[in-house]
């Protein structure tokens, strides 16, 4: 059978074909359309409902390996939030690189707007422990983050004084790799009743459909 010969193709030829397929649109972009899906539109509308001065928590829960997928999402969501004059608290729960990406991306996007650090936004940095800081922020965000990412005490920062816990937050948006998006949904949404939106990598997308359908998430990624 001729078709069975396909089984014996050297895997390196397949790698080469995949590499060519991936390289062509980078060398010469082919301009494929980007059409927002219904869940993405849902998050857009949720952000549109926010009033100026409302608070949103944005969690950078991914490392360098997920940057190609999640950086465009973080830029789009930050621009939208700042355009709506929403106050943004940035945190990072993923240990390997999340906080570095947050520092770089937050600096890049905030430079496009006229914003005051500590008033309109704050980068609280990374906290170890996964679910432990997530749960503790339900009581006091300042207790979990006594200092921001630059080790400046958060005491006295208007945004941290005003936004004490999840009760003062309208939406938690996580850009998540692996299981962290799930934690935000089944811990923070389920136990504290805050809207949770997850921008996830494609690997995690199928399992998040269940959370999206059950109303535990309002978004599952910018598709």
């Amino acid at each position: 059978m001729k078709i069975q010969k396909l089984l014996y193709i050297d895997r390196r030829i397949i790698y080469l074909l995949v590499a060519i397929g991936a390289l062509i649109p980078i060398i010469r972009p082919i301009g494929l359309p980007v059409v927002p899906s219904a869940p993405v539109q849902g998050l857009f509308e949720r952000v549109e409902e926010l009033e100026p001065g409302d608070a949103v928590m944005l969690s950078f829960d991914y490392g360098p390996s997920s940057e190609p997928e999640l950086n465009p999402m973080s830029a789009a969501i930050m621009r939208h939030l700042f355009m709506r004059e929403v106050r943004v608290m940035v945190v990072a729960i993923f240990p390997l690189g999340g906080v570095q990406i947050a520092i770089r991306e937050v600096a890049r996007i905030t430079s496009e707007f006229d914003l005051e650090y500590g008033v309109d936004y704050v980068n609280l940095g990374y906290k170890d422990g996964g679910q432990a800081p997530m749960k503790a922020m339900g009581v006091s965000i300042q207790d979990v983050f006594p200092a921001d990412v630059e080790t400046t005490p958060t005491e006295g920062m208007p945004i941290v004084e005003d936004v004490r816990n999840y009760g003062d937050i309208e939406v938690v948006i996580t850009l998540a790799t692996g299981i962290i998006g799930e934690w935000w949904a089944n811990l923070v949404n389920a136990q504290f009743g805050v809207d949770v939106a997850v921008g996830c990598t494609a690997v995690s997308a199928p399992k998040y459909y269940a959370y999206l359908r059950s109303g535990q998430m309002i978004q599952r990624g910018l598709q």
Binding site: A22, D128, Q131, W183, P206, A210, Y211
Partner: protein
């Protein structure tokens, strides 16, 4: 130092990327070097970030600045438990590490149990109890959900031999599982290709293009 006007960091980044990709041809010392470097740096980075972002602001500074105020003296307990975890490397007192580990596991079991109950079991069970009386395509999907959940549960029921009616329902469950795994695999391929494109994008746009254009 910037050969061809490109920062040295970009050269190192490009070199290590090519070292990692070289594994696709076959295993080689360059790949091994980049892999070991990545593992070592990740561990070093993790230790640094935990010290700077968690241990210093949440443990050391409160205890140094105001030991008796704001109940900061209670931080001694988690600090001792944390230190006890490393007793496992001292044979004579290695058993003490188990106490700290037990507290650690106990805490996370408590958090995780409620998290799963609140977030997964209750919500997902509620979402499985769907109406069949509505018309249109929604009713069809609701039937699919009910049949899917029931048949997959039957597949994982191992207290009786899967034959007869039980076997037939279980085979339907296998189909549902296979379709689910297929969807996951498809998404995984998509994700891996996007990671590859991220690296290629770096190599082409940040490394090669500036070198050619001078």
């Amino acid at each position: 130092m910037a050969p061809f006007g490109i920062p040295i960091g970009v050269w190192i980044n490009a070199f290590l990327t090519i070292c990692i990709l070289s594994f696709l041809y076959k295993d080689n010392p360059f790949f091994r070097f980049a892999e070991s470097l990545f593992a070592g740096m990740s561990l070093g980075y993790y230790i640094g970030i935990v010290t700077e972002n968690t241990l210093k602001p949440n443990l050391f500074r409160p205890m140094i600045n105001d030991f008796w105020g704001n109940h900061n003296f209670l931080l001694v307990i988690p600090m001792i438990l944390g230190v006890m975890l490393y007793f496992r490397y001292i044979r004579k007192i290695a058993w003490l590490a188990r106490i700290a580990l037990a507290v650690y596991i106990g805490y996370y079991v408590g958090v995780y149990l409620m998290q799963k109950l609140h977030g997964d079991i209750l919500f997902q069970a509620r979402d499985t109890i769907v109406p069949l009386t509505m018309g249109g395509i929604e009713a069809v999907w609701n039937v699919v959900i009910i049949v899917g959940v029931f048949s997959v549960l039957v597949y994982f029921y191992f207290s009786a031999e899967h034959k007869g009616a039980l076997g037939r329902v279980s085979r339907v469950g296998i189909w549902f599982l296979m379709i689910s795994f297929g969807a996951s695999f498809g998404y995984t391929i998509m994700a891996r290709i996007s990671l590859l494109m991220g690296r290629f994008s770096f190599l082409v746009n940040t490394w090669v293009r500036p070198m050619i254009s001078g």
